[in-house]
Symmetry: C2
Subunit: 266 residues, 2 copies
């Protein structure tokens, strides 16, 4: 089995190294990952600057892969179109430092990279782990658990383009209850900004590091994680709100159609 591994914390992140060690049990793993941290990069891609690529060795001087001065999704695109010597059987992204659940799925570079893998019709899995508040994170254990989930998914022979979002809860909070398959929470988060003034009198804001989801929907990734389950959410990248499509097909677009005949031929 051939695996492309990427992430959004950067190629030197401990989470990537831990997951790399685990994935090697499944076959050949090559890494194409951002040279620098790209948290909250979402599915952004780089179109106005060049993507510098450098080979990277692992701590024992073995060849590990390529660092790209770009976004997580750039890495997957470049890996699959240009860099990799083979077409992978699986794209894995992570393991991310911090969970990617609820609407954070949309901000996540980890998930963005996995979606890009799905664009290429690869089975793609985003893996993230919740960070403990005050202790160092146990990436080795998080990656070991993620590997078991990946094995379970692979055992079901995913179709090309099947996309999964896996989250491991904070391992310092206590033992894990098991695996739950849950939908993405869509409830709003509350975040805050710190307003400051620079020495030249210009106003700027920092987004605060802590954000909360005060009213998460029950039986979703956010609540299951908080209850110490490993969560697995099958994802899709068709954003169409299909129930509305049906209804809107019956709308009379009178403002628009009334203008069109005269306007658009000018």
């Amino acid at each position: 089995m051939r695996i492309l591994l990427t992430n959004d914390d950067g190629i030197y992140a401990p989470g990537l190294r831990a997951l790399h060690a685990e994935l090697c049990q499944l076959g050949e793993v090559l890494v194409v990952a951002p040279a620098t941290e790209q948290s909250a990069a979402g599915h952004s891609v780089t179109i106005y600057s060049p993507l510098l690529v450098q080979e990277v060795l692992d701590p024992s001087k073995g060849f590990q892969g390529w660092a790209v001065e770009g976004r997580p999704a750039d890495c997957v695109k470049l890996a699959l179109r240009q860099i990799l010597p083979w077409k992978p059987d699986l794209v894995v992204s992570g393991i991310n430092s911090g969970s990617n659940a609820g609407i954070n799925v949309l901000y996540s570079g980890t998930v963005g990279a996995a979606i890009e893998g799905a664009f290429f019709q690869m089975p793609s899995i985003a893996c993230s782990m919740e960070m403990p508040g005050n202790e160092p994170a146990n990436f080795a254990l998080g990656a070991r658990l993620a590997l078991q989930v990946i094995k379970d998914i692979l055992g079901k022979k995913p179709d090309p383009g099947d996309l999964f979002n896996v989250n491991v809860p904070d391992l310092c909070r206590g033992p894990i209850k098991g695996v739950r398959v849950v939908p993405q929470n869509t409830a709003s988060y509350v975040e805050w900004f710190d307003k400051r003034v620079d020495p030249r009198g210009r106003v700027y804001y920092w987004i605060g590091p802590d954000f909360t989801c005060p009213e998460p929907h029950p039986d979703t990734d956010v609540t299951a994680l908080a209850e110490q389950w490993i969560t697995v959410t099958p994802l899709q990248f068709n954003l169409t709100r299909f129930p509305a499509l049906e209804i809107m097909n019956d709308w009379n677009w009178e403002n628009t159609t009334g203008q069109l005949a005269t306007e658009s031929v000018r």
Copy 2:
């Protein structure tokens, strides 16, 4: 009616100015938009650098809004949490220079900003227009058509958080046929990279400017745009692939659960 207007081409983009002029017919419009072009920013947000904010005047020296040195989604977040003197009734993003259809919806900063508006439970509309190959784009007409679509949508009294993606076809290609409500195309694009070597011998890649969708699914945003329809796609930000959820709930997570009792309590 109070409207927040943003975009991903930057606050000085002609598409934003054109749409601003049209939206003023509906009520009070304030702009909070990126200081610089942020195309392909997707739903990325800025967490590791400060968001500088400066007031911007329109060409007639009237107050237009605020330029933010950040991403489109940052602008919406900052506008709704900090900057705007009122809670808007509508968030509009655009009109973008270039269509945002198919899987490009995921890369689009224009759409990312509108999704952020929907996170705040605002009706949110992303507006984009296809660019002509060799002629200057008629942003004034594109914005006029977008306004008509926005009026039609508002006439149906959208719910809080209702999210729409509007695309105007290339207006130089001929007259418009009307409005079609269509799903997002999910077929793959073909793109290419230009490999180069810098004066220091380092390899880098530019992503090519042209990409094609050789096999678009029929009756989608991509095909309808090509047939000269204005397209409207209702969007959602719940990425859960619900049909798979049902099936996966019956899976036996044996690899993972077998390990959990012993692993996670270490």
